[in-house]
Structures are given as structure tokens and as C-alpha cells.
């Protein structure tokens, strides 16, 4: 235990704490830009400088460990002047018109400039060359707004193990981006949008589909159907200053109706459908393997997360046969809305316009994949991030916070709690186990509140084993088999797991992978800025939503049964195969 003095207060600190850690704990605000909790502390932006008695220069608090007896001052003229100078220099290079910038509401640069009391920019000089990159479906980059904090590089390289962007060139000409200033489409980028999620300015944002959606809503020839991803209901409120983890399902439905969507459906419905298809796919792989002694690709990986799917296509194509052939819930929904539902309401696929609300950038990419046209036209026409929906609601003048709660429309809006938890790392696995266990044993999954606690939470890699006992005759070949599963979030963790499987160090039957840390609750398209604390609150909210439902298991969803009865036939049947399953392609690794 160390004792230090910070702003004349004597406080205790632990060995290894930085000055910033201690200050935050003590409620002392030190502005930071390049610092990213748990990911990056590099002392690059110099905004967090403080005075340390005995030190010749000001010290960057995010990288300076405290030592016993240290005397720190965070609020002196010297500190304030230095921070202001740093900020003024950053602003002098920054090309950005705050009046029209899409980040103007939650821009960290602008916020800190205001905090520091900057009212004029004293330095007039060259500004960063603004090159706008819209080469990919999901991500827009504007170098002019970039302040080179490198948070995006840290998440892309360290957290996601992708390395699409890196500092290029040198000095004033430095840009943060793909190799040699190329466009993002020229390098392997999985479109996860974690870069956009951590960007403090408007330099990396989503490619906006807002105009496309307004146009469709005004087009009388289109029936506009909307689906909302599970994770959005636990985060949309943050766009309206509600605390993280506020569930706004009902308000969201009302807001969507008031925006003009003819029918408000739920991606949850197709998440239930995914569980049926993907669960049966797993069981059929296990049957082939255990009963038939066939060589089948195991473990089976989940395929809900398009960033992860693209990651495998780029970096581990040898595992493509292991990825479930099931489309993601977004795409299953699109295919069902433009076939089954269109038929029901007497429309053609061409007359339908399907919008998804997703916590995600990669879903924009996924919707544009050439494989996703099984209804005869593009199955999902537009994808809005949680943030974009928040903007549209504001633009429409809807007072979100005071909206009444309404319910999703029938059939494709009915879902179980198992679908809600698709938002959380561990949720798809839990939902699958709830159904698969019951199929195999005829009994309910034997855990309290049906939760698989060891697979829940923010930990990047989670594992569980369960011995299958008391099988029904049809599945008796699984009697005594120890089912091994893993749950992974964050692509860097996925890489470790893949390497372990490759080397034979680990074996599993089923692995859930979500691209973003914590799962979709921490998606790239969620309200900024997502810290672990925010992730945890959203996770908890999603479990509350699940527990509050009568239906807790996908196979109990009556509308799923109706869909199979009226339209699809049997799981993994011919129609399912055509509309609900897909194929993958190998992509160039470099």
C-alpha cells in the first residue's frame, strides 16, 4: 500500500496504479483522449499531464505509476496552460465543422475543448488533408477529423487481431489507416466497427443508411418492415441520456411506428429460428460423428456475427467447414420477411423494404453480401446502427423518453427469452443448450433460471463441459458423451481459441464466437462510449428481459412452430436449406 498526496489530499494507492487510476478513483477529473481503459495507455496525446513534485517536466498521468510519497497536483496554472496548448494544437490541425459533424453531440474532442475553456484557436496553420473513404459497406473514414490518438489502431490490432489500420507515413503527413494510404476495401477489414466505437471524434463513423430509410418510408409502393436486434433494446435509451442498461423495448416499438414503419418485427423471432436450425445442424453433425463414425467438421462455430464470419474467411479459411451454414438472424429475418410474410400479405419480394436496427457495422456489409438474395432480391435493404436510429427519432421530433410502451407486431415479432440473450456473449450458446438439452433428454436444462452461469459475463474466453445423461431413445447414442463448449468474444480471443484447436491443445463440440468484446451489447454501432461498466449494465438488462418473458426457450415459440407448419416444413429441410442457410468464401489474407 502506497500513500501519495494528490491535490493536497492524502490517499492510498496500490503498487502499479498510475496517477490517472488514482485520480479517477478519487473523483478527480483528468481529461484524456488517447487513453482507452483496459486497451491503451501510451501517453501520446499529452492532455492528461499533471505536476509531480521533483519532476522536471509535466508527467502524462496515464502512463506514470505512482510511487510512495509522491506529491501530485492536477490543477495548477502550469497544468491548465499545458493542457490548453495541447488542445489548441490538436484543434488547429483538425478539419471538422462541428456544426455539421455527425459526432457533434458526443464528440470527446469538442467536449474536452469546452471543459478546458478554449474559446479561440490561436494557432493558424496547415490542417490535415481530409480524405474520405467510403470504400466499404459499413465504415466511413475521414482523415481530416483524425487526431491520431490511435485508439482505433489499438482495438483493431490488439483486441481484434485484424490490423486493418495502422499509422502510415511520418510527421505532419501521418495518417491512421490502411497500408500506404489505400482504402479500407483494399485491406482485410472485418467491418466490426470497433474502431468507430472508440474514436473520440467523427473520423470513423458508420456509412449512413438514414436517407435510404427515409426515402423508403415515403415511397408509397414499398411496404417497409423493420426488425430490431436484441442488443438495441438495452442501449437505445443511452441516445436519449437514459442510463446504460435501461430497457426500452416498448418505447422503441412505439418510436418505430411513429417513424412510419408499417410493421415492427423483431430479429428475436429469427434468433429463435436460428436456434432451431443451428441446434439441429449441431445435432446432425454429432450424429454423423458419434453414431456414423463419419469425419465431420467439429467444433461447429456459430455464424450470427458477420465480422467473425469474415474473419474466418480471411485468416482461417481452413475452418470455413466448421462455421454453421445458418444465416445470421438478420438474414434469416430478411429472407422470411420477403417470402413467407410477403406471401401472407399478398406482396412480392420486390415490394418489400426490410430495415434492420443493429448494434453493428458489419451487418451493413452482411446485408450486401451477394449470397444474401435468396428471396430473389436483396433480403435486407438497409441497416441502421443503434446510433442512427437514435438520430432518426430525434430528427422526427419524437420525445423518446416520454413515449408509451407498445408491443411488436404478430408472427415475426414474437420471441422467447432465449432470443433476447443473443445480445450477450454466451447467450447464443445458452439459448442453444436450452433447446438442444431438451431435444436430447426430454428434460429442461437443469440450471437455475436456465442460465449457464459459467458461460455468461465479460470474460473473453469461457469454457464448459457437461456429461449428457438420460437421453431419449432417438438420441441415445449421445448417452455419456461429455459435451465440450466454448464461448468467445473479441476476435483476438477467437484467434487464440482457433490456434488452440489447430494445435490440438483444445477440443470442443460447439463454439460461440461474437466479434465484439462482450458480444453485441458492445457492438461497434452502439452508443458511445462503451466501457466494461457500460457493457455489464447492458448484459444485465438483457438477462432481465429474458427472465421477464413467459417463453424462455426457442422451441416453445408458437410462431416458430407456425412458420415450420405453414411454410418451411422441417428444420434443415429443403426450403430451410434454400432460405436459411448460406455459403462462405475464402478471402485473401493480405
Amino acid at each position: 500500500m502506497l500513500t501519495i498526496t494528490i491535490d493536497s489530499r492524502q490517499v492510498h494507492a496500490d503498487e502499479g496504479n498510475t496517477i490517472l487510476d488514482v485520480a479517477r478513483r478519487e473523483g478527480i477529473r483528468i481529461p484524456t483522449l488517447c487513453y482507452l481503459e483496459g486497451v491503451q495507455a501510451i501517453g501520446a496525446c499529452r492532455l492528461c499531464v499533471v505536476e509531480v513534485e521533483g519532476a522536471k517536466t509535466l508527467m502524462a498521468s496515464c502512463v506514470t505509476p505512482v510511487v510512495d510519497g509522491m506529491i501530485i497536483r492536477t490543477n495548477t496554472r502550469r497544468v491548465r496552460d499545458a493542457r490548453r496548448t495541447v488542445m489548441e494544437l490538436l484543434l488547429s490541425e483538425h478539419v471538422g465543422d462541428c456544426k455539421t459533424c455527425s459526432r457533434s453531440e458526443d464528440c470527446e474532442l469538442r467536449k474536452i475543448a469546452a471543459e478546458l475553456g478554449i474559446d479561440t484557436i490561436e494557432y493558424q496553420g496547415a490542417t490535415t488533408n481530409s480524405v474520405i473513404d467510403m470504400s466499404t459497406p459499413g465504415i466511413l473514414r475521414d482523415n481530416g477529423k483524425c487526431i491520431k490518438c490511435r485508439r482505433c489502431v489499438a482495438v483493431c490490432t490488439q483486441v481484434q487481431a485484424v490490423g486493418a489500420i495502422f499509422p502510415q507515413f511520418r510527421g505532419f503527413k501521418t495518417t491512421i489507416g490502411p497500408a500506404f494510404g489505400k482504402e479500407l476495401a483494399d485491406v482485410p477489414c472485418v467491418q466490426c466497427g470497433q474502431c468507430a466505437a472508440v474514436c473520440p471524434t467523427g473520423a470513423i463513423v458508420e456509412i449512413s443508411h438514414i436517407d435510404k430509410v427515409w426515402n423508403a418510408l415515403e415511397d408509397k409502393s414499398k411496404t417497409v418492415v423493420v426488425q430490431t436486434a436484441p442488443a438495441v433494446r438495452a442501449s437505445l435509451g443511452e441516445c436519449f441520456d437514459l442510463p446504460p442498461g435501461t430497457l426500452v423495448t416498448g418505447k422503441m416499438v412505439t418510436a418505430l411506428r411513429r417513424l412510419g414503419f408499417a410493421t415492427v418485427f423483431d430479429t428475436n423471432f429469427s434468433a429463435d429460428l436460428t436456434i432451431i436450425e443451428e441446434g439441429m445442424e449441431l445435432l446432425s453433425r454429432l450424429r454423423k460423428c458419434v453414431e456414423g463414425g463419419e469425419k465431420v467438421a467439429l467444433p461447429q462455430f456459430t455464424s450470427c456475427s458477420p465480422g467473425w464470419v469474415k474473419y474466418v474467411e480471411y485468416f482461417y479459411p481452413e475452418f470455413i467447414p466448421n462455421v454453421s451454414t445458418c444465416k445470421s438472424p438478420q438474414q434469416m429475418f430478411g429472407a422470411m420477411a420477403k417470402t413467407y410474410w410477403a406471401e401472407k400479405i399478398g406482396k412480392r419480394a420486390e415490394d418489400m423494404f426490410v430495415v434492420s436496427i443493429m448494434p453493428c457495422h458489419a451487418k451493413k456489409f452482411e446485408a450486401e453480401r451477394p449470397e444474401m438474395n435468396d428471396s430473389g432480391v436483396q433480403d435486407v435493404d438497409a441497416v441502421l446502427t443503434t446510433r442512427e436510429l437514435g438520430k432518426m427519432i430525434k430528427e422526427a421530433g419524437i420525445d423518446f423518453v416520454s413515449l408509451p410502451d407498445e408491443e411488436m407486431d404478430r408472427i415475426l415479432g414474437v420471441s422467447s427469452g432465449a432470443a433476447d440473450i443473443f445480445a450477450n456473449s454466451g447467450g447464443v450458446m445458452e439459448a442453444a443448450l436450452r433447446t438442444a438439452w431438451e431435444v436430447i433428454t426430454g428434460r429442461e436444462l437443469p440450471f437455475e433460471k436456465l442460465h449457464v452461469v459459467t458461460l455468461a459475463g465479460l470474460k473473453g474466453i469461457k469454457e464448459a463441459e457437461v456429461e449428457i445423461k438420460g437421453t431419449v431413445p432417438e438420441w441415445s447414442f449421445l448417452e455419456g458423451v461429455v459435451l465440450k463448449v466454448a464461448v468467445v468474444s473479441g476476435l483476438g480471443n477467437a484467434r487464440s481459441v482457433l490456434e488452440n484447436i489447430k494445435s490440438g491443445a483444445k477440443t470442443y463440440h460447439f463454439v460461440e464466437v461474437m466479434t465484439c468484446p462482450g458480444g453485441c451489447v458492445g457492438g461497434g454501432g452502439q452508443p458511445r462510449i462503451t466501457t466494461d461498466e457500460v457493457r455489464q449494465k447492458r448484459l444485465d438488462a438483457i438477462y432481465r428481459e429474458d427472465e421477464g418473458k413467459q417463453l424462455r426457450k426457442s422451441h416453445d415459440n408458437p410462431k416458430i412452430k407456425q412458420l415450420y407448419g405453414e411454410f418451411l416444413g422441417a428444420p434443415l429441410g429443403q426450403k430451410s436449406h434454400h432460405l436459411l442457410h448460406t455459403t462462405y468464401v475464402q478471402r485473401e489474407k493480405v
Binding site: G163, A164, F166, Q168, R170, A179, V590
Partner: protein
């Protein structure tokens, strides 16, 4: 030069290139597991190929398990690395502080004028490539320029033509020697 000779020349280039790629592979074998191995690999690769072509960089990425953007970031950071083919003589003018204040800029301008190329470009005859650099560590001799490995000290704009002519003529002399002229 007749046609058949030209063809033979291309074959030779292709054959040479595969030899060069083999050499690169051997270098990668040695450095692949060494921490901090990227920069020496890039230096040696540039030595082998004369510059760093895209396919060579991508090969390095694959073998060293690094992303292309990361490797490009390193290559584009250091002025000593080049991704374009260079001329026979690489002329580098120091723009470091000492050289700059003692007339480095004028030297550079004189070279540009003389060679009729800009910084980063190569003369159409493939003889000279012009680059700037920041400090060769010879500040006491400022202003300094380097032609390949040779340092020219206390250069004046007026002397530029003489220096460049030495290389031009040197080449002329060598070519003359090859053809048996004396």
C-alpha cells in the same frame, strides 16, 4: 539491340527474380521468430530487390504473421525504405537542421533543376533517383548529400553539376570499358 537479345534479357530478369525470392525466403527463415525482426528483414529485402515491391512486402507479411497495414506503416515511416524502383544512383540530400541552415535547400533545388525531376522521382534514363533525408550524422560537414554509399560534404549548389557528372561519366567510362573502348 536486336529482338532475340531483348527476349533473353526478360528471361534473365524472371530467372533472377526467382533467385531473389529464394534469397528472401532464406532471410525470412532466419528472422521469422526473432523479436524486432521486421526492420532487418525489410532492410535486407531492399538490398536484394533494390526497393520493396508489393509482392515482396506481402510475402514478408505472410511469413512474419503481420498485417500489410502494419508493415506498410513501418515502411512508410522510414525514408530509407522505398516502394518504387530506384535509379542506379540514389541521390539523397540531407534536410536535417544543420544541413538546412547551411544551404541544403539550395543544393536540393540545384539537383532538381539539373536532373529535371522532383523529390521521390527517377530520371527517365533510370540513372538517378532523388530523395531527401533527415540527418546522416555528419552535421559537422553540412550541407551533406549522399550518392549511394558515398557522402559528399560541404556541397554548394554550384558544385552539384560536377558531382553528378562524375557518376554520369563514371558510368560512361564503365560502359566504354565493357565495349572494349579505352
Amino acid at each position: 539491340m536486336n529482338k532475340s537479345k531483348g527476349k533473353a534479357c526478360m528471361c534473365e530478369v524472371a530467372a533472377n527474380r526467382s533467385v531473389l525470392l529464394k534469397r528472401l525466403d532464406a532471410v525470412l527463415d532466419e528472422y521469422v521468430s526473432k523479436p524486432g525482426g521486421l526492420i532487418p528483414v525489410l532492410q535486407i529485402a531492399q538490398g536484394i530487390f533494390g526497393y520493396l515491391p508489393e509482392d515482396v512486402l506481402k510475402q514478408i507479411c505472410l511469413r512474419m504473421n503481420k498485417s500489410y497495414s502494419e508493415v506498410a506503416g513501418v515502411v512508410s515511416f522510414y525514408s530509407f525504405f522505398s516502394t518504387t524502383k530506384r535509379g542506379r544512383y540514389l541521390v539523397r540530400v540531407c534536410m536535417g537542421t544543420a544541413c538546412y541552415v547551411r544551404g541544403g535547400k539550395q543544393v536540393l533545388d540545384a539537383i532538381k533543376q539539373h536532373l529535371k525531376i522532383d523529390v521521390g522521382e527517377t530520371t527517365p534514363d533510370g540513372k538517378f533517383t532523388l530523395e531527401t533525408a533527415r540527418c546522416f550524422g555528419a552535421c559537422g560537414l553540412a550541407p551533406v548529400m549522399m550518392v549511394n554509399d558515398v557522402v559528399h560534404q560541404r556541397v554548394k549548389a554550384a558544385r552539384v553539376q560536377d558531382i553528378l557528372d562524375q557518376y554520369r561519366q563514371g558510368e560512361k567510362g564503365k560502359r566504354a570499358a565493357r565495349k572494349g573502348w579505352k
